[in-house]
């Protein structure tokens, strides 16, 4: 299952809730887009939470959104960068998708 989060982890608890569901050893994938990309920042509260979750969840970040926000040089190790075509691939490969509001 693919989970998409577009909210900053510093403004909303959406990422936290998503991870509570996604980290259940079912091989779920998380894609961070829009303001959600801030979560991949190294040495941040959100980054640490994400690092922990990465034992269970594959984490991807939409690169154009990360670059636009200037965080491209501070991305947590192990996070996969995807472009728009990669976004489409992730959706196509998943049985179902949840866009967390």
């Amino acid at each position: 299952m693919l989970h998409i989060v577009n909210k900053s982890p510093f403004e909303s608890t959406t990422l936290e809730s998503c991870l509570r569901i996604a980290t259940n050893g079912q091989g779920d994938v998380l894609l961070l887009i829009e303001d959600g990309v801030y979560a991949v920042t190294k040495n941040s509260v959100a980054g640490n939470m994400l690092h922990e979750a990465m034992k269970d969840v594959k984490v991807c970040v939409l690169w154009p959104d990360a670059e636009a926000r200037g965080i491209q040089d501070r991305v947590l190790e192990g996070v996969k960068m995807v472009d728009y075509a990669g976004f489409v691939d992730l959706v196509a490969e998943s049985d179902n998708v949840q866009s967390w509001l």
Partner: protein, 133 residues
Amino acid sequence: MNETTGGVDEGDPGLVKKFMFVNRKAPYGTIYALEGLEVVLISAAFDQDVSMVFMDDGVYQLVKGQHTKAIGMKNFSPTYRALEGYDIEKLYVEQKSMEARGLTEADLLVPVETLSSADMAGLMRSQDVVIDF
């Protein structure tokens, strides 16, 4: 989604999909909860397999004793009790969301099934379509 739906016999059970509506917002601060409920009622008209999930502040939608007269908004909480009449009987709450808010099933308007986060994940995974409100 099946694009041929319009041309197929409505009685064909093969077209029943599992829809899950995930409600994560409190009822009156934003329009999400009310709009979500409207969509669920519409989906009932299409005889789909519908589940409703309430997590995070979404659990507040189901709390007993809502009185909205003084804020000039419609109290739509009685509608949740009518869902059964539309064959929408699968209502789930997430245990952690309930606990965090000091709520138990006795505080809610309708019978629900309380699920752990792990069980919720499994249920979500088994759906054809998951829509957040």
